[in-house]
Amino acid sequence: MRPHRALPAIALLLLAACGGHDRNAATHPSTLVMSLPADADNLLPPLTTNETASQVGALMFEKLVEPGDALNTVGDAGFRPSLADSWTWSADSLSIAFHLDPKAHWHDGVPVRANDVVYSFRVNASKDVGSPVGPLIAIVDSVTARDSLTPVFWFHARSPEQFYNAGSQIRILPAHLLQSIPDSALKTAPFGRQPVGSGPYRFARWVSGSSIELDADTTFHRGRPKVDRLIWSITPSPDAAILRLFSGEANFTEYLRPQDVAQLARHPELKAVHHPALQVFYMLLNERAANGRSPHPIFGDREVRRALTMAVDRRRAVNTVLDSLTPVAAGPFSSAFWSYDSTLPRLPYAPDSARAILDRRGWVMGPDGVRHKNGVALHFTILAPSTSTVRQQMAVLLQDMFKQVGAKVDIERVDFAAFNGRQQAHQFEAALVGMGLDPTPSGIQQEWTTQAARANGPSNAGKYESAQFDAYVDSAVRAMDPAKAKSYYHQAYATIIEDAPAIWLYESSLVSGMSTHVQPATMRADMWFVHLADWTVGDGAATSGSGSVALAASAH
């Protein structure tokens, strides 16, 4: 009676035991498996700010030129050819002609032509599409095609970074596949889920919620990529992503937290690699009230913002959540920038001064330990992304520190996409933002000027407006002399630090975890994944365990 009923179960178990480890490693091409906690939403670059989508897009689509690893974005000396072989400046520097590599072709075989560049520029500048790099290419007047291999960029004025903005902001898209689709319909076009690019990797498959796979394009015009397959292995949370690295199902994960680095020490087949990252984390304060027009009752007051900054022991918070090696951020810029100097002012940790200021500004302490002014309580909500454990923990610490000076704080968690959305729609009071900085200090213009505030776009969500700051930044960006530019930047930085539109928390460098078989190429500070095609996987073969490199993108 019993034995025959058990047969199907035994058969299933046998089947289960057989599948799994593939014993013949040589049959597998070398594979990079990156584990990450966020699925992409759309793979068409102008349509997404999703980190995963950006990484996948960076390997499928090319720019005309790429910044060199030193990230010198002024002039054209620090750039390397990508889709374009070479370029020519006009005598008055008001136009630049790029010469496309004639060997470059789309993954469907069609060669890349100048009208692809014309189309890509138009799409990225279009209001209907709303590309995130739209404001960055505003200094380009137009793009024309002199002949089938020569797109020309036209400017109305010179600027130190005009070459960078022209050649290195937009990724070139296939006009022959996309131009028949109206701009407003691009978002729902099937191309977003099955793209065709010109880059070193071509699209293979996208299993929703599970993985995105790219295969090497062996006919890529700059040489065959060394890694045969790239797989982004998607998990629901950062913990699961790191777990995949430890279990061998992935061989790379972008972001290790301090406790994971300690854990990694116990795995001799894994290594931790530190690399610079241009990232600043801060608590952005929305200076406008919910209606978007009148000043926020708490954060509209400069003195209160300064008081709240002084209520936070930033060094201790960073030590608790991260480690003592992580630097406290000075402002919305990296200490690695040439514009940075250590003489910048810093608001100290001084809770007594904070309380005094709050008293002076009319915030009277109530019996319940919360301050009030004109019937309004010193009560606000911090928005944090649920994908970032560090920021969530930071929020809890901040909540406690604010309580000590009489502020009542709630914490709201939403996932990364919703977090970005809320920020862009200005639907927040305080938000723990992680900003990936442009490789150039002039990026501060995009994020903190009055023009950005008035544009009602995704930038300057806190609506910080300071004419003084605008003036300094403008001078700094226009100055062709580096010493002058640096002093202007110093003034600009000092202004924004004193105005405290955000509480500057920390700068992070990235610690990535990977298998010892993986040899990364240079991990550029703004985009560590840009040279993935040059990475190698040790013995060249991949098993189902270590040996493949999994790239992890995380909205950490």
Partner: protein, 312 residues
């Protein structure tokens, strides 16, 4: 000093249990209640479960007195993710908070929420079931179809939908939402009881004598319904506790920094490998509570229904 408090609490609990045991042991016949109590006491598992529940609720009630630290207070950064020790019986979490105190307060909150929500669900379910049972006909059919529909939705899915649409939920709203989603099975039970009572002669007789429906409800329906409803409620509390923990785990239950057993587990999940104590202890607390309620409910069911054939 704080060990003394535990000793005092322990003595109190033991004496309570002893009193209950004496009450059960009394063999003199009389009320149905004492007979039921004696039958209940015959199941050792049910008795232990009841004792555990009493202990849990006493601990929860006296939590502020029994906790070693403040549950929200963030201690020094050097005490982050500390293993269990003499000072921190269950260790500390990522923010340097004492897990033991958090579990005590969390249990207190979770137990209270579950009890209140079950109370709400019993009230709603009974009212609904009585109405449907007495109404009969088309109204009854419609009302029961609605209950069927709700029973077809997995409870956690419904809770997630409501929790997301009305995010963030305050603790009061959480109690109400949990109560509003837990009454369906109760209403079915009550309605079945009402239907069976409607058949009986005494009701027909009462009606003939001119008694109004409400009086019938009060005198005949409610006492008979009390038994199955009590059993269902006891078993239901276990479900509500677990659902509240699930919601807090997902982030749409009890808000930070107030501890609830579910959100302590959530705090401990990123550190499962290195600081497993943060996720382990609240989970054990949940299991013990739910198990106690389940065993107590089973014992109650067997004890209160003498008509049931003894299956044990």
């Amino acid at each position: 000093m704080f060990a003394l408090r535990w000793l005092a609490a322990g003595i109190l609990v033991v004496s309570l249990c002893a009193a209950l045991w004496r009450l059960a042991r009394r063999r003199d016949s009389g009320s149905r209640f004492q007979g039921a109590l004696a039958r209940y006491a015959a199941h050792p598992s049910a008795v232990i479960a009841l004792a555990v529940l009493i202990v849990l609720y006493c601990v929860a009630a006296f939590a502020p007195w029994l906790a070693s630290h403040d549950p929200i207070e963030i201690l020094a950064p050097s005490l982050v993710n500390h293993a269990p020790s003499a000072t921190f019986v269950f260790g500390t979490d990522y923010a340097g908070r004492d897990v033991f105190s958090r579990v005590l307060y969390g249990a207190r909150l979770s137990l209270t929420v579950a009890l209140l929500a079950t109370l709400i669900s019993v009230l709603i379910g009974t009212a609904y079931g009585v109405t449907a049972g007495f109404a009969g006909g088309a109204l009854d059919a419609i009302m029961m179809r609605i209950v069927d529909a709700f029973l077809a939705i997995p409870r956690i899915v419904l809770l997630i939908a409501v929790g997301t649409l009305w995010s963030p939920l305050s603790v009061t709203s959480l109690v109400i939402v949990l109560g509003l989603t837990a009454w369906f099975a109760t209403s079915r039970l009550v309605r079945a009881e009402v239907l069976s009572i409607k058949e009986r002669e005494m009701v027909a007789a009462a009606r003939a004598l001119g008694a109004r429906d409400l009086a019938i409800v009060r005198r005949h329906v409610l006492p008979n319904v009390l038994t199955p409803v009590l059993v269902a409620a006891t078993l239901g509390v276990a479900g509500v506790i677990i659902n509240e923990a699930a919601l807090s785990f997902l982030g749409i239950g009890v808000p930070d920094p107030t501890p609830s057993l579910g959100n302590i587990i959530r705090d401990g999940t990123p550190y499962l490998a290195s600081a497993w104590w943060v996720a382990l202890f609240p989970g054990l607390a949940l299991v013990i509570t739910a198990l106690a309620y389940n065993l107590a409910g089973d014992g109650l069911r067997d004890a209160m229904d003498p008509r049931q054939v003894d299956r044990s």
